[in-house]
């Protein structure tokens, strides 16, 4: 990672955006489970102590409490690490939030492999799968802090359903500029190409962009799609691109089972089957390490994307 790229923290942006929105919307209430200094909800807590509830280390209680607040008309944001905001209180999310369709905004940080040195106990690589299966639940995974800000703004007045937003721990390169517009039901076409489609979600977009440039130099032109919203998934853009390129790679810092790769595969299998490679964590537990080391070892670096693209182009005949 030689490039000196400007990186920013999604978490700081999240905290600051909450503070800004808190002044406008007096019904915003923020909950955290003793990780406010990490998730940066502490910023909201300092600005609006009455509307900030540190629930202590009790995530199940936190989720159900959020349900009660949402049922009473509050705009509720709940934060902790992805590991503790998905698996541990999953049944509370299912029965107290999703089933009664209460608009709780679960914004987790420290998602995926990029948690790094804390190791597998803290690397949530299954959360998207277990959230995706819940009726009423919506899932958003932003790529950078610009996108994060727009999503949080959108969610402040969103009351239609529960939402799961997954942020990364590490500072991330800024991909989008201030013209970025968030649309719930639309994925974003980043690059136009006709040889292969690369679909990513979250912070892996930056690696995809690096791979895109190298692939272009060897004559492979990729259609690059960023998919911040995994559920409801933008089927149209997937089918349209598949029809054009006939080859699809998905990449996510999540298990290859149940996340973005599975969601795209489901759309293709039922609508327009094409050759496909899912990049992600391959049904194993990873280990401690720096994010870029882990991305390299567990198959998420630009090199893996380039290899996958070359193989797919070489070994698959385009289905027209």
């Amino acid at each position: 990672m030689a490039d000196k790229i400007k990186t920013t923290s999604m978490r700081n942006t999240y905290g600051d955006t909450l503070v800004r929105l808190g002044a406008i919307y007096k019904n915003i209430v923020v909950l955290d489970a003793d990780l406010a200094k990490s998730t940066q909800t502490i910023r909201f807590g300092k600005a609006y102590p009455d509307r900030f509830l540190d629930m202590g280390i009790s995530e199940q209680d936190m989720m159900s409490t959020a349900a009660g607040l949402a049922a009473s008309g509050m705009s509720v944001f709940v934060s902790t690490f992805a590991m503790f905001g998905s698996g541990r209180p999953w049944e509370q999310i299912r029965n107290s939030i999703c089933y009664p369709n209460l608009p709780v905004k679960i914004v987790v940080t420290h998602g995926g492999l990029s948690v790094g040195p804390d190791g597998p106990t803290h690397q949530a690589c299954e959360d998207l799968a277990i959230m995706r299966v819940l009726p009423n639940m919506k899932i958003i995974v932003p790529a950078d802090s610009v996108e994060t800000e727009k999503i949080i703004e959108f969610l402040a007045t969103y009351y239609e359903s529960p939402v799961y937003v997954r942020l990364a721990r590490m500072n991330t390169p800024v991909v989008f500029d201030s013209n970025y517009k968030f649309e719930f039901r639309k994925a974003i076409k980043i690059k136009e190409g006709q040889d292969i489609t690369i679909i990513s979600t979250g912070v892996t977009l930056f690696n995809v962009l690096k791979a895109y440039e190298i692939l272009k130099q060897i004559g492979i032109f990729a259609d690059v799609i960023h998919m911040p919203v995994i559920k409801p998934i933008d089927s149209e853009i997937i089918i349209e691109s598949a029809k054009k390129t006939g080859r699809i790679i998905t990449i996510e810092e999540h298990s290859i089972i149940g996340g973005l790769g599975s969601a795209v595969a489901e759309v293709l299998a039922e609508n327009y089957p094409v050759f496909m490679i899912r990049l992600g964590v391959k049904d194993i537990f990873a280990e401690s390490g720096e994010p870029d080391q882990l991305f390299e070892k567990y198959g998420l670096s630009e090199n893996h994307i380039i290899d996958a693209a070359k193989n797919l182009v070489k070994n698959s005949t385009k289905i027209k």
Binding site: S58, S64, G68, G73, N95
Partner: protein, 600 residues
């Protein structure tokens, strides 16, 4: 020949200080008076028997008196024979240091003194008296070897024996258990019995388990006096609960001994144990109305008069303050029970026991306490109820229909495809349901969320949450309990349906670590109110009292009976999660005073 009862046991000087509440460890609490009064189990029981008109031989031992002319005061009664009573001036008379709080119970620290010196030989000398007794009463505040000797002699002559176990904690548990073999009646309280069987007992169901364990040691009848909850009898007919007599409690000291004495009198007269217990309960109640163990002991005439008056009052449950309201509650709760039976009969599945147990609580909430508008179920300022034990849905639905949230006909759609009444409450389907529940353990957290929202919005509506006792085995309940206390949610009131049974058995069998329940909630900094969960007046008062609390959430521990209202379903685990058969429906409805009914 006149009936004689022999009592062998302790005699003490009771030094009593009455305080508002018990001091905690390391805490000093001031009382406003000190009392030096006669006490000791044996002496109390002897006086009780004498006043109830029976000749009694009291065998015990005292020494030098710390305060003169106190301990023997009431034993100077024409019915008391002290021929075998011993005074040994080389010893000191036993002393009990007592902290009493009125209806919050008492704590006793005992210096056994001369009581510990009552030998086997000294009781053997009384063999002739024991031989001609109708009943022998012995308690464990004297050496266990001596107790054993007394029981040996009594058995030799086939005399009925009553053992009253006290101060078990300072004796060898196994030694006490050894003397149980062949006993007719063992009487003890929940704390002592718990110690003997290595359990914490705070519910009849766990008391039953302990009593059954004691019975295995060879006792015929085990009686556990459980304070407010009443008295438990376990014998070869199973377990029976006797309600206490409701009185204004000044001091609980001596209640147990008055009970023992009165039971002994009835047994001596040849009565059944069940009748003896009722008599005992009445005597126990009377003595708690005065400070001291012996001061309030009634004469036979006083006790008979008290019982007759109370019988008229339906055990003191006469409603003084809210006559019309209580009548309404009785009618509504009966209607709810009838609806529950009919609904489950129609549905063919559902949870009977836990719906019937909450019918009275739900009644008082929906027909008096809660601020609701059935025409506007989503009214922002309404009080909310979260049925955290969602399987009690039939009771909630029946109340909602009766209150007018929807028509009665809807009730027969319970659990049916396309119907509005889901197996567990669904806030999106059923008008009046404030939260979707069914997965246990989550309702208290949700209630916290609603209570916090109310405070943020500066609204004065209240949040009620109904918990099951099995449900509080869920860890999330205690996470939530901390949250309620942390946030000082005095606009939240939880009610625990403490019926003692869960699917796999009684709470004592399944997870006895649940007890003691009251102390747990207190330790979590909640305001705790204990009531009989079927007494409408008590429910109403508790819910109203909870409104007055500042800075703390309130939990009402409602002691209830699973299956309440239908005799053959009461306290039966088997009726937790089954629908009644056609025949059971008809029998149940008949008991509830409902005419013939055709299931659809």
């Amino acid at each position: 020949m006149e009936d004689i009862i022999t009592v062998i046991g302790s005699i003490n000087l009771d030094i009593i200080v009455k305080t508002e509440r018990m001091p905690e460890r390391g805490e000093t609490i001031a009382g406003d008076n000190i009392y030096y009064l006669p006490g000791g189990k044996g002496a109390n029981q002897a006086v009780a028997i004498a006043r109830l008109g029976k000749k009694v031989f009291f065998i015990g031992k005292k020494g030098r008196d710390l305060i003169p002319d106190v301990v023997m005061k009431n034993l100077k009664h024409p019915n008391v024979n002290l021929d075998y009573f011993i005074t040994d001036e080389s010893l000191q008379t036993g002393v009990a240091l007592i902290n009493t709080t009125g209806n919050r119970g008492n704590k006793v620290t005992l210096y056994t003194g001369a009581n510990d010196a009552l030998t086997e030989n000294e009781v053997e000398r009384a063999e002739e008296v024991i031989k001609k007794s109708k009943v022998v009463v012995v308690s464990t505040e004297i050496p266990i070897k001596t107790v054993k000797k007394v029981l040996e002699i009594a058995r030799k002559y086939n005399i009925k024996t009553i053992l009253n176990i006290g101060a078990a904690g300072t004796k060898n548990r196994e030694e006490i258990k050894e003397v149980l073999q062949g006993l007719d009646i063992v009487i003890t309280n929940e704390r002592e019995c718990g110690y003997l069987t290595n359990r914490v007992i705070s519910h009849m169901e766990t008391g039953t388990l302990s009593a059954m364990e004691l019975r295995k040691s060879g006792v015929n009848h085990v009686i556990i006096t459980m304070g407010k909850e009443g008295t438990l009898l376990v014998n070869n007919h199973g377990a029976t609960v006797f309600h206490r007599y409701g009185v204004e409690v000044v001091d609980t000291i001596g209640g147990g001994d008055a009970f023992v004495g009165a039971v002994a009198v009835k047994i001596a007269e040849g009565n059944f144990v069940v009748d003896a217990i009722d008599y005992g309960n009445a005597a126990g109640a009377l003595v708690t109305m005065k400070i001291g163990a012996q001061e309030g002991l009634p004469t036979k005439e006083e006790l008979d008069k008290f019982i007759n008056e109370k019988k008229k009052d339906n055990h003191g449950k006469v409603y003084k303050k809210y006559d019309d309201t209580i009548k309404l509650f009785e009618q509504k709760s009966n209607k709810i029970r009838v609806s529950i039976i009919k609904m489950l009969g129609c549905a063919g599945s559902g949870h009977l026991g836990g719906s019937l147990s909450i019918a009275d609580i739900i009644t008082v909430l929906y027909f008096k306490v809660m601020r609701i508008d059935p025409k506007n179920p989503n009214w922002e300022d309404r009080d909310r109820l979260i049925l955290s034990k969602g399987h009690g849905a039939p009771a909630l639905y029946a109340a909602l229909a009766e209150a007018g949230f929807f028509s009665e006909e809807k009730l027969w759609e319970l659990r049916k495809l396309g119907g509005d009444l889901s197996g567990h409450p669904d806030m999106r389907k059923t008008p009046g349901v404030d939260m979707t529940t069914g997965s246990l353990g989550q309702g208290l957290s949700v209630a916290n969320g609603m209570a916090i929202a109310a405070k943020l919005a500066k609204k004065d509506y209240r949040i009620y949450v109904l918990l099951g006792d099995g449900e509080i085995q869920e860890g999330q309940i205690w996470e939530a309990a901390m949250t309620s206390a942390t946030r000082r949610l005095n606009n939240l009131c939880a009610i625990l349906d403490y019926n003692g049974l869960q699917i796999d058995g009684s709470i004592g069998e399944v997870k006895s670590g649940l007890e003691p329940v009251v102390e747990k909630w207190k330790a979590f900094n909640w305001n705790v109110i204990e009531i009989d969960g079927h007494n409408h007046e008590a429910i109403l008062e508790a819910l109203e009292d909870a409104k007055k609390v500042k800075d703390a959430p309130t939990i009402i521990i409602a002691r209830t009976i699973k299956g309440k209202g239908v005799s053959f379903m009461e306290r039966k685990v088997e009726y937790h999660g089954v629908a009644p058969t056609e025949d059971e429906c008809q029998r149940a409805l008949k008991e509830l005073g409902c005419a013939e009914w055709q299931t659809k």
